[in-house]
Amino acid sequence: MSLATLLVLGDGRLPSGGHAHSGGLEAQVAAGRVHDVTSVGEFLLGRLVTSGLVAAVFAACSCAQPAAFRELDAGMDARTPSPALRKASRAQGRALLRAGRAMWPVATIGRDPHHPVALGALANAAGLGPLEAAVAAAHGTVTGPASAAVRLLGLDPYEVHALIARLAPECDRIAADAASRIGDPVDDLPAAGAPLLDIGAELHATWEVRLFAS
């Protein structure tokens, strides 16, 4: 495993369209639930242990077995009740796949897979293992909304990055948990949900003017 390759996969500057998405943060800012560094931190933790865990598990499984992409993709569908979030996940999966294909020989996994399924396939093509795929997925569920928070709320970027650093051990724990689930039947894999992320995504999708796609 190449540590530098993992950094390439986890780099926020990877041109895969992630900057256009707030990970549900914009909707909760509008609802008044997220307004300062503390509430951003609570949002990030809640997202990490729910969507982040699911993303980490599916990235790990996809990395271990990219050929199982159809089953994994259907598993993500069953865990993503919001059509706006399914659309956002597939748009980001497609964009990531495009970036990935320019770097590594990525397996065939369909045109617009869910983002974690694409991430796992990229990790596999890059010679990384399931644990690394899971770490990149978990970390990404935190960094996306964190940078959106700086833009939406004009927060101190140093303080927001300190939140990301504080969540790093939790990202590691979740990734280890995720990697241990490889081989489990898809229906048994974790499905930790966050009702306000689903509800917020649907409300957000009806807005006429918004800064982020999701």
């Binding site: 997220v34 997202r47 259907a74 229906d187 966050a194 409300l203």
Partner: protein, 252 residues
């Protein structure tokens, strides 16, 4: 306490539904309610003891046969309570199957997570193609002005052989971030209705933090979060109505 209950609903061949099995034991007692003879079958769960408490292992099996129409409700909220700490978490496993042409409405009163409880609610529903399902689950985070206990719900709903909806929700002191702005946002109640089958409503905003959205498969999810259970009920109750019989079935 270990207990199980079993409901089998079957068509009586004359447009009505009868219980070919209706068996429960405390604290999962079953009572047939509503009009008898010729109509749909309605069964109420009646709590025969306090709880669930730590150590309780409860199981409910529901089978709805072809052409049968079953409604399951409960007479009161289910109150998950603490128990002796050395015992495992209390557990309620509900399994249901709905055959093609069968209809099941599951709409019990909410599960209340009393302070200090540790409860697991596991639901597995399998619906054949052509079956109809309306599956409601509400949760309340603690009694009035009380901190929430720990509850984890796990749901898997399959339709026509494929996972339609797979969801878990963890609340309480062992679930980091649960009351934060990504999960319940300080809301004290949350509820869901999964609707599956041939005839589905359109997507809609249900007011406040409540939305009815199309799943990837042949179903819809209504999800609501509110400051209390009344807000959730206001959004979700209107969806928990059995669809009418088709004219063809009435004539038969």
């Amino acid at each position: 306490m270990k207990a199980s209950a079993h409901i089998v609903a079957e068509s009586d061949g004359r447009g009505g539904t009868r219980p070919s099995v209706l068996r429960g034991e405390s604290p999962l007692l079953l009572r047939r309610t509503g009009r008898r003879g010729g109509g749909d079958l309605t069964v109420h769960l009646v709590g025969g003891a306090a709880g669930p408490l730590r150590g309780d292992d409860l199981r409910l099996d529901i089978e709805v046969g072809p052409g049968a129409r079953l409604t399951v409700r409960s007479v009161a909220a289910q109150l998950a309570l603490p128990g002796r700490l050395e015992l495992p978490a209390s557990r309620l496993a509900v399994r249901a199957t709905v055959a093609a042409g069968g209809t099941l409405l599951w709409a019990p009163e909410p599960l209340i997570a009393a302070a200090g409880c540790h409860h697991l609610a596991a639901t597995e529903v399998t619906v054949e193609r052509g079956g109809t399902l309306i599956w409601r689950d509400d949760i309340v985070c603690g009694r009035h002005a009380e901190t929430s206990g720990t509850v984890k719900t796990e749901v898997l709903i399959r339709y026509a052989g494929r996972a339609l909806y797979r969801h878990e929700l963890a609340i309480g002191p062992s679930a980091p971030g649960w009351s934060g702005p990504a999960v319940l946002g300080g809301g004290r109640a949350a509820g869901t209705v999964v609707l599956a089958g041939p005839s589905l409503p359109r997507a809609a905003l249900l007011g406040g933090d409540a939305v009815l959205m199309p799943l990837a498969g042949p179903g819809m999810l209504a999800s609501a979060v509110g400051p209390d259970i009344r807000a959730v009920a206001a959004a979700l109750d209107p969806l928990c109505v059995l669809p009418g019989r088709t004219v063809e079935k009435l004539a038969a």
